[in-house]
């Protein structure tokens, strides 16, 4: 099976993530999408990151009704920090029958050179890119391993949602109802 790996902190998972995952799983050659929840992104500041188990739980709640989107906790089982290339290698070891594709935003594509062993990633894996506001990458867009998809442009960000929750603003529809209930019940991001 062709499986798209969509890495992220999902802090919290929101409608933008879900639309991208759905587009990738149902409107591209991918069979499935796995949301790979990162303990923390080595390139990001981790002070705002809530407990990884809460982030995992929210991702599971949000995709519970989906047939072809699953949540992977693989990076929690690997030594940290977990770089994408290490996770990919590990996944390939345990699922040799699957063909893994990397899903990333145009902003990530632009900073790909900062990634550990990025040449190896480009050599061995296909990358499906979804657009991000303001990012057009000239360097890797035409690379044979890179496919720029027609995924709708999403401007929702987890940062915005966290800030809004902190300020007691209404974020209905930015998140799935079940996730919002989870956040309320645990008073996250307050």
């Amino acid at each position: 099976m062709k499986i798209g790996l969509f890495f992220g902190s999902y802090n919290p998972i929101h409608t933008g993530h879900l639309i991208i995952a759905n587009y990738m799983a149902n409107h591209t050659p991918l069979d499935k999408v796995w949301l790979v929840v990162s303990p923390h992104n080595p390139l990001k500041d981790k002070k705002d990151l809530i407990q990884v188990y809460d982030r995992l739980e929210m991702a599971k709640i949000a995709t519970d009704k989906s047939q072809n989107i699953s949540v992977s906790d693989i990076e929690l089982k690997l030594p940290q920090p977990s770089y994408t290339i290490d996770t990919l290698t590990h996944l390939k070891d345990i699922y040799p029958e699957h063909d893994f594709v990397l899903i990333m935003g145009a902003d990530n594509l632009k900073s790909l050179k900062k990634w550990k062993n990025y040449e190896l990633i480009l050599r061995d894996y296909h990358i499906y890119v979804y657009p991000r506001p303001g990012y057009i990458d000239e360097e890797f867009s035409h690379h044979p391993s890179v496919t720029i998809t027609q995924t709708p442009l999403m401007e929702i960000s987890s940062t915005f949602i966290r800030k809004a929750i902190k300020e007691h603003k209404n974020v209905q529809y930015f998140l799935s109802e079940e996730v919002l209930e989870f956040i309320d019940s645990k008073s996250l991001y307050k």
Binding site: W34, Q67, N68, S70, V71, S72, D73, I74, I94, Y95
Partner: protein, 190 residues
Amino acid sequence: MKQGKLIIFSAPSGAGKTTIVHHLLNKFPDKISFSISATTRQLRGDEVNNRDYYFISNEEFLHRVAKHEFVEFEEVYTGTFYGTLKSEIQRIWDEDKHVIFDIDVEGGLRLKKKFGDDALAIFVQPPSLEVLVERLTGRGTDSAEKLAERIKKAEKELDYASKFDVILKNYDLDIACKEAEELIFNFING
């Protein structure tokens, strides 16, 4: 008499099959029902009689074996019997549901042999023997002696995987649950 299908989940103890079976029962409450095995072992942890198992005495068990009331049974550990009652399968079929089994590897294979294409036998494969031992140890419900016996049995059971219809890898619980959903959906609608 009504007849439905059988879905068999087998795995070395500690591979996570019970969690997957519970997930499926929640997903398809109108389609499948859990086959309660009969056993002569003691209740463990928060188990409930007539829900998790029919806990019966050795004497009663052997009496019912003599009356041919079992589809399959086995003395899994010395003096500890497990078995599937014919009446249990019929009870579920009469409710217009398919039967789902959470059963040890040899029991699973005996059922598969008996029911052929009416049964789907799924082997849940744990990540590795090391992880299995870790999970079994963490359960904390067994004595050191029982634990050693379980681990020995698990090692042996891992060799049976190829005799099943499907091997379901359980490296990542959410992914395994979604795959199981798909397998069951296709089997009961096929």
